[in-house]
């Protein structure tokens, strides 16, 4: 019984590994926000060689930057923005991984808690890293359930987009989400916490600067009602104090009147594309 079960498991594993190697699946196989983050981490650590990255720009930030249509920026852009995490995690990942990009595009909307997410350290842990590098079946993007979902998402893309649009059109839900975000963002962040966080960020970013990595800051637009909230103003002011606009490049905020948001904070797909193209034009200047 034991040997037959183990033999069956090995056979299944070999068959699945072969299947992954002969197919070139490009679906979005993420199952939730967390798995989407881990897939981004693993793609980054397994897919980019040191040589390639020297020509590339890495975007670091939060879920608001994850909405950017990275492909619209052209080749050589890697989006390492994470849902519910912060730009600190992206910067730490780039640092720990030891592959220096030509430029870092850093989102400045939030200054979240700077404790390295365990998923990042775990992905780089030799016990997880090397098996994942050897066997594709061990990478999160290739989980059987993820592939099943990716296939489904691909098959019903139009219908899913319509549902998202319908959800966005729900005025009551939008107002509720906006209010919820406003309540959170109106709460001031104690200066002691911000000083601590920005000291860490400063040393991290200056470390990259010393190694000739270009640094560009940008702020993703939010709904007009949230633009002047206490925490957003505080964070903006701290960025300008720790990274003065004279010494660091900042992408100016575009005119936000026409942007549409799903909850006041995250851009809708159409507006995300619009903002990405704006970002592209500013980067090309």
């Amino acid at each position: 019984m034991i040997s037959r079960s183990i033999f069956a498991a090995i056979l299944l594993f070999i068959a699945y590994e072969l299947f992954l190697r002969v197919t070139t699946i490009q679906w979005d196989t993420s199952q939730n926000d967390k798995s989407a983050n881990i897939i981004s981490i693993q793609d980054y650590i397994y897919s980019y060689s040191r040589k390639q990255l020297r020509e590339d720009t890495v975007i670091v930030g939060t879920s608001v930057s994850r909405k950017l249509i990275t492909e619209a920026l052209g080749k050589g852009y890697i989006n390492l923005a994470f849902n519910a995490w912060s730009n600190f995690d992206g910067l730490e990942l780039v640092k720990i991984n030891g592959k220096k990009p030509s430029c870092l595009l850093i989102e400045t909307n939030y200054a979240k808690n700077q404790i390295l997410q365990p998923e990042i350290s775990k992905s780089l842990d030799p016990i997880s890293y090397y098996p994942g590098e050897i066997f594709r079946s061990l990478q999160l993007r290739n989980q059987p359930a993820g592939l099943l979902v990716g296939w489904g998402k691909n098959l019903m893309k139009t219908r899913i987009d319509k549902l998202k649009e319908k959800k966005r059109e729900n005025v009551d839900l939008y107002k509720f989400s906006l209010q919820m975000n406003k309540e959170i963002m109106m709460l001031p962040i104690p200066d002691s916490i911000l000083v601590k966080r920005f000291t860490v960020l400063k040393s991290l970013i200056d470390g990259f600067k010393k190694e000739s990595v270009g640094i560009i800051f940008y702020e993703v637009p939010v709904a007009r009602e949230l633009g002047e909230t206490t925490s957003l103003l505080q964070v903006r002011s701290y960025y300008h104090t720790y990274f003065p606009p004279g010494e660091y490049k900042y992408i100016p905020m575009p005119v936000t009147e026409n942007y549409i948001f799903s909850d006041g904070v995250h851009l809708s797909a159409k507006s995300a594309l619009e903002y990405t193209l704006y970002l592209k034009s500013e980067l090309n200047k």
Partner: protein, 474 residues
Amino acid sequence: MLFNSFPFFVLLIITFIFYYLPFQFFRKGNTQLLVLITASIVFYGYFKPSLLILLAFSGAVNVITSYFVSYGLPRYRLLLASIGVIVNLLVLAFFKYSPLIAVSFFDTNVGIGAFLLTIPLPIGISFFTFEGISLVVDTYKGHKDDKFRNLVHESFATHIRNSFFFIVFFPHLVSGPILKAHDFIPQIGQKSFKDIAWNYCFRLLVAGYFLKLVVADNLNDFTSSLTYPGFMSFSTFDLVSMLLGYSFQIFADFAGYSLIALGLASLFGYRLMQNFNFPYISTSFSEFWRRWHISLSTFLKEYLYFPMGGNRKGKVRTYVNLFITMVLGGLWHGAAWSYAVWGAFHGLMLALERLFNDRFNFQVKRNSFLFYIKILFIFLAVSLAWLLFKLPNFGQVIMYVKACFKNTGLVSNYISIFLIFLYALPVILYHLLYLKRQSRPSYLKKLEFAFYGLMIFLIVTNSGTAGTFIYFQF
């Protein structure tokens, strides 16, 4: 240490090798126990060695009181046993319920209220204090009942070793099953490698790790959004799916842990009691509690419900006893009033069910339509009550229920709902197959190896993002 962590596997392999090393058998005394005690100490103190002080104190109290209950002066037996039980309960109350006492009765910003809030909750305290109580009470019962005789060795040194091993044996130390002294201590002895029931261990370990890593951890990635105020923007369908998903998750998480514990203990020659027996096929609340967390429900029955009089003091007293037992059982789970409400809900349901059964002789034929309706009803009621575990603020529970009725027009996240169903499917099939065990086709038995092979394959390729076990917080 977590059963699903790399350091644990290293510890397990080293312990296993030393435990069964041939030279063990030529030594005087049982060095096997010392190997397991050492491994258990490393297991428990790995992250925070200071926790070992409390474990040692608790162990010492139970070892000393149980020894003198057996071999001390007969007239002090009851007094010593009572002291043992009270000290265990005080330790539990101090470490577990101080924050609840602080927020309920004191100003938490100053003085005693602030102090009580700083007291840490040592992992596994609810489990090892209950086992300590079992040791003391069983020893006391030994003078009246043969079942409980010979639990305490006449040599104090051997008694220390046996009792401490009973409390700290790592498979059950932090999350149970809650052992009873009279079940476990008689098993202590020299174990041989050739006696290992490999197939039994393999089945338990594979099923346990599958339930934890593939089912519970993946479901956790979806049910973790069930927090206030996030859930207010989910549709009714999303909310119900997440709650049912949580119901399957809590089963997979805890039953998975228990199966792993049973499998590990068996690798070292010890049989622990089965903790789950297909609870979601129950047709009544009393049946549910005979199938869910069996080691806790039998403990509460033996050490609380029976001593209170059980069902021997009339009908009304039986209902009251059931209710009190369940409220205290609820509070055992956590230091929040919502756990007491959860226990009260189950206590009330058990009492009402008993009252109904006392009045009417209502029998439902197995496999009839009504039989399945009863299963569904119990499952839904139990699942609804899990909300009190997930949202420990009672106000949020009310808001969740309101949102379920209000958010009918919102668009659902069908991908998440599909995935919740997909990950819950093994638990559903596991229960359905048990329900249909008599009419199960014989080829399924022949294909058993393929199911285990598939489970191993999925453990390797489709585990969720590893998390701690839900019952660790209790």
